[in-house]
Symmetry: C2
């Protein structure tokens, strides 16, 4: 199944509910997925090497999703094979005082991946049109303005060679509950539990609506949104790797032209 | 073989020449090393999870070595199993104009790993007492001053909970030549070749001397130098993992105290 399967048509209204978070495509279980995941992971590493050598373009994965959708996990399980020197992860939490004193794109702009680099945003500037809307911290007209700012910001990045890949990890509300329970009972995960997650959970439907608006207002052919079913972690990992590999393959990456002078050097060595 | 095997006695003069870059300890080949590498890697990931959860301490790997000693490779092969969200790699190249307009520790200070994080410096502020000395850009008395600045800087970091692990990847001059040849002939590696590496290679002995001075002047019980034989990459990876695991094990890491209120929450979920 190609990555395009998960890509939303841009500018169209999508109902998240209509997408099955339990989907596993043509794959039946983790065992069947493993060799595919391994193959894609190796391919992605090879492409990263060319991207890094070329130093003309970069890749930005924007990873969004409800609490427990597996945003941290996907960075480790699907993208963890990338060379750490060329891979930079940024987590966006509540803004600091300094961040809040700037426009909402300022802190994201600072950590956009440089040429040759791959970046992953765990949450992103999209939170500024998600949590803020769900809690009515901003008006609808302010949200509309922000959609435009985001679209122009992404155009700027694209014009500088940044390939933007926006991924929404799609889970069900029941699945979230099971994961929250698991966090409370597993001593190696309990530290991740945040009482506030229960508060946000109450606004589940409002979040889905806010996301649907984002998908409609902030998609383009060059920077589309992908909705990845994530109730099955192994399928999530396979799908994200598939999308990632296709994204890098579309960039016409090439090793830099070789300096013929170097051949003479080789003879002297 | 414990990581301590690679640790230099602090304050003592060491002759790098006396250490065999071909050493493989009790291991005979890559095949024998693999299961050990895997076991150590899993252990390191588990320790990283506690470090990240605890958020009270951090770890800084300072990775130094001659060109082709495998500084980039070790970050991928030995430390690549770390969760990318909690692992941050910084490469130090020739200073930018802004960096050069500050003291030599300024740019390093900015990227010191925050509490909960693991950082790796590929090259570091130690270059300011290595390449600079080899080319006589600084005097011996300036170098002595810098040693003191470095020692005080490392004390500051330690006082804030940073565990500093300094690793010198030790290769032979012949091995470097073979690797340089390989870079020139392998089309996926040719982009890494820098003609300047040949110039630096001519100062091999001066570099070894400058390193020996660093080891003598900038070691302490809490921030020692480790010399890792690196002609065999699999041994290098095993040794660095062994050192890393022991470093984290020495930090008395613990998950944060659990909030008993959460148990009541669980009943309500």
């Amino acid at each position: 199944m190609p990555g395009k399967h998960f890509q939303l048509e841009y500018g169209k209204k999508v109902r998240i509910e209509s997408i099955d978070p339990n989907e596993t495509g043509a794959l039946h279980d983790r065992e069947e997925a493993e060799p595919n995941i391994e193959r894609l992971s190796e391919r992605l590493e090879a492409l990263q090497n060319i991207l890094y050598a070329e130093k003309k373009q970069s890749v930005l994965f924007v990873i969004q999703g409800m609490d427990c959708s597996g945003k941290d996990g996907v960075v480790k399980r699907a993208l963890g094979g990338l060379h750490p020197q060329g891979f930079q992860v940024s987590s966006f939490k509540a803004p600091t005082e300094e961040e809040a004193a700037h426009d909402f794109l300022w802190r994201a702009h600072k950590v956009v991946p440089a040429k040759g680099m791959i970046g992953a945003f765990i949450r992103s500037y999209y939170e500024d049109v998600l949590i803020t809307r769900v809690h009515n911290w901003i008006s609808d007209s302010e949200a509309k303005k922000r959609f435009k700012h985001i679209n122009r910001f992404e155009k700027l990045l694209e014009s500088s060679g940044v390939k933007i890949v926006k991924i929404f990890l799609h889970i069900s509300k029941d699945f979230q509950l099971a994961k929250l329970r698991n966090r409370l009972t597993d001593p190696t995960k309990r530290w991740k539990f945040d009482k506030n997650d229960l508060v946000e959970r109450e606004s589940w439907d409002e979040y889905q609506k806010a996301y649907e608006d984002v998908f409609k207002q902030c998609s383009s052919a060059s920077a589309p949104w992908y909705v990845v079913p994530a109730n099955h972690r192994w399928y999530r990992d396979w799908a994200v790797l598939q999308i990632a590999v296709e994204a890098l393959e579309s960039m016409s990456l090439a090793y830099p032209e070789s300096d013929p002078e170097l051949d003479q050097l080789l003879d002297q060595l």
